[in-house]
Symmetry: C2
Subunit: 627 residues, 2 copies
Amino acid sequence: MGKLLDSIDSPKDLKVLSLEELNRLADEIRQLLISFCRRHGGHLGSNLATIEPIIALHYVFDMPHDHLIFDVSHQAYTHKILTGRRRFYTDPESQKDLSGFTSPKESPYDDFMLGHTGTSIGLACGMAAQRDATGGKANIIALIGDGSLSSGPAFEGLDWAAEQGGNLIIVVNDNEMSIAENHGGLYKSLAALRASGGRSSDNPFRALGLDYRYVEEGNRIEDLIKAFRQVKDTDHPVVVHIHTRKGLGLGQGSQGQIGSTSMAQSDGQTAHMTSLPDLPAEGPVEANHWQDGLDSLNRLPNSRKTYGRMAMQALEARFSQEPGLTVISPATPLSNGIDPDFRQRAGNHYRDVGIAESHAIAYAAGIAKAGGTPVVATSATFFQRAYDQIEQEMALNGSAVTLLVFSTGVAKTDATHSGTADMVMMRGIPGLTCLAPTSGAEFLDMLAWATGPARQPVVIRVPGERTLATERAGKPIAPVKSDSTTAGQPWDRYRILQQGRTVALLALGDALPLGRDLADSLKASLGLKPTLVDPHRYDRLDEQTLDALASTHSLVATLEDGQLDGGWGQAVAAYYGPSRVRTLAFGAAKEFKDRVPQAAMLERYGMTVPAMTRAISDALADQASWI
Amino acid sequence: MGKLLDSIDSPKDLKVLSLEELNRLADEIRQLLISFCRRHGGHLGSNLATIEPIIALHYVFDMPHDHLIFDVSHQAYTHKILTGRRRFYTDPESQKDLSGFTSPKESPYDDFMLGHTGTSIGLACGMAAQRDATGGKANIIALIGDGSLSSGPAFEGLDWAAEQGGNLIIVVNDNEMSIAENHGGLYKSLAALRASGGRSSDNPFRALGLDYRYVEEGNRIEDLIKAFRQVKDTDHPVVVHIHTRKGLGLGQGSQGQIGSTSMAQSDGQTAHMTSLPDLPAEGPVEANHWQDGLDSLNRLPNSRKTYGRMAMQALEARFSQEPGLTVISPATPLSNGIDPDFRQRAGNHYRDVGIAESHAIAYAAGIAKAGGTPVVATSATFFQRAYDQIEQEMALNGSAVTLLVFSTGVAKTDATHSGTADMVMMRGIPGLTCLAPTSGAEFLDMLAWATGPARQPVVIRVPGERTLATERAGKPIAPVKSDSTTAGQPWDRYRILQQGRTVALLALGDALPLGRDLADSLKASLGLKPTLVDPHRYDRLDEQTLDALASTHSLVATLEDGQLDGGWGQAVAAYYGPSRVRTLAFGAAKEFKDRVPQAAMLERYGMTVPAMTRAISDALADQASWI
């Protein structure tokens, strides 16, 4: 790429540049990010907004002696480019080795691997406390976007910072929007601060006891350098509120006037979108969130979007008759098929509460208590932030809240966004009915039950790619129409899909297609026709079916697309523990895994069809040897 | 008690009273609360502060048509007395049937059962949204104490309230202190608001877009009635900030000038204590928190306080040499043996971050990253609020944070404070070393390791009452000195306490004394000497020992003082699943349980020694019948 960028191998190479050169460097990085995201996709809007701030931070401060702690790290691309990781962005082949987040394994300039939001301030407080305890002098800087500020941990961190005192610099990167849009009274105050050049009296930072500076031109390097120099080596916590432009550099021609500063929240939905002009993908994505790359062209919608859209369509048909039917999304709606046009039509039947998962559940519990029907939709990994509210406000209070859990299972995700932990988490909590549908039709049946007659806490794990593939191939495994909805508490009983002998395969949710393949393999290789069972529920066992299986089967194998330890398969094993029935549990290991390809993980976990066939064959042989 | 109170069977009986009578009623309730807490203990300070506000709320509003939602509900005694539950407070025999929290099972005036903090505003937002969706007119009121305001969920709720709009009244009961003391910049702003009669410019509520009123005399009924009448039927969210007096009515003679308004935060530790003059118990308790009753006199400190004090003593000895050794308590320090005098001596080695569990973990991860040694101490149930930070900031980042988990196990707790969920939660998270010491000495060994050579995430389940009882009786079960600290990763191997045959008992943590009793019972009743094993670790299995047991034992029984489903015993069962070894897992059912006596629960769970002896005997007989 550009000549200047080629000379930047570490932040110290920045420090010899003139202002004019710094600006040229920003332009070069901007072009690089656009071409990178065009190819691979990425968090384009937020990164385009933070090129100049990050250049200025590295110019003024001395990382890694000083520490720059990113929040969710969707603003870290420029930081990575400036800290010796340029080649990941310039060399298409290297991209696959790059974490989408900050990562201490990648660089000494990264202190943490962070993929959720709101904790940068707390982490920075801790690092500052330890610096003060040991007489250090480093500047500790947290960089947090306006979208993250609505989260409870961010507030708790801000509140504590003022009490702790000492050097701490909190850079609030205010690009006027969260993922879809910002929500909450806080954003009115931020808007008022922007409108008044930082002088508005209702200042949420000062109200928490913090010193405060405002930089109107948050993409002008000289202004940023001046502001950062003023706070460098401060002896007390200070917020530097910088006003940046989302998607800066994506000029005219793209949707929604990206690059203009006129995009107030009142501009409506389309103003909050961005997409590269030549990248139709399947529609524009939210400016601050993921931009699909060229490699996504002509790709069919994934299971998240497909089943999410089905769910929204089914609910929307009822909106006019059910005033309290409410879809709640703590940000990231689009990824789960909650499209902008749906949101617009839904009116108050849809609520994006911003990045505030704890609140999303308490809010839903309140709606349910008053007779409404709330549905909370987000990724498996983000429900973790509401564990306590799921346990207390939802489950303990018996609140008729339905959770739709997206993005689950063994998949090539970032370590921060694992999809293998959700079933272990949910099934550990008393009082939740946890369902794992194995077809789109059953998913909608379960949703209808949960938001209709159930009036109790229900968790539905949205079907994944395997289920979608069987449906797209016209080969669904489970019956299209579930017949169990008539009972008072449906899905209590497992569904026998194939009656066999000796070996029973219990394959949960998106593992069912794998179970069918395994059944075929056992028939082919051992001449054994196993029983194939669709449990479609994972919070409790169908003891009646398990007892019946015990009389004609000597081995019961469980398959689940999630973590084994603490999971449903272990509960089945324990149930059979005192009996003569042997058990084998197939599932994911308890481990962190960062962008490991799915096939490699299934291999490692012994979850391939050949490996499972072998394991079952071995178990049967061992059993035969001593009976 | 007094004549007026005898005539109040529901809030409508209030509405005919004169102001003079309302004041007399307040006096009568005050005397009742003091005598009640003298007898039974209770959250005295916070309830004494809210007598007049709750009388005024019920006088002005029309509950249960209007809704009054308590936060943690440590301010609900007067509400209960006024809503038909007087006899629980006047009749000593009835007290045992009374929930310490609001409870819909007790009364239609209670919307939720709430025992954690900060969610009242979110719940109220939800009820208000449903009211508006259905054209209702009720006033929705959230009552939240200043101590709860530091929690993330409270902030998320405040932030959302402003955006939602419509009728919502948030009463902030500001008695100038949290449990031990308030922490965070927010409290400086509250102090400035109090000092300025609500006119200070740094107003955290206005900064979140909320309307705001201030009532200086928050214990003067006429002022409260006037303020509540002004906001009744408001068409937008409004905060009513009332300044109340903690412990009002506990006049001179008690420690710390309780009842005086002069208790600013600067008054030091003793000013923040209250105890009834004739109740020495084991020292004063924090004013806003639990006041021990007469029934606690001469009682020995419980296991929480005993082992907590031991831990603090061990850490304190190292403070002068280790600048980064930091004990972090998200409120409630005293319950865990973190005494005021320790806190004072510890200086910056002790940090009470207030009710902000998410922040506590992120903060600790920051300290660890910078080389310090943080120890976070709180109840099992409160760690739930930091699930995501434990998974992301602590475990995924490999942060050298130690968690001390207090108040665990099957016990007669409120449903909101269960001690049976923690092991399931912690062991489901990858990357945590989870230890269950079985003696005080081993607890200290583990703490020394975790805060010394380990430099990794460690969870220690503080020993409970059974362990303490064996130690007090001079009959510890496990060796006093652990010999496993020398290895690189200690406590990897189970400890064989008694070598036997046929049956192996694996008894985890505080279930070990139960395991020994069971071993004795098996010997006595079946003439069988079982092997007794102390696993003292529950995040992973010692497969080497399990394999060795398999050769000489046909039945392995696990005992754990926690929930079976998702627990360690199920992992043992799954490990033996494909083998000929049978398993039996003893532990708690997955259920909510509210103040059920421990003996009744152990009976229900089949965890008594006779029941377990029978179960093992039956399993052996069944096994013999078909081998």
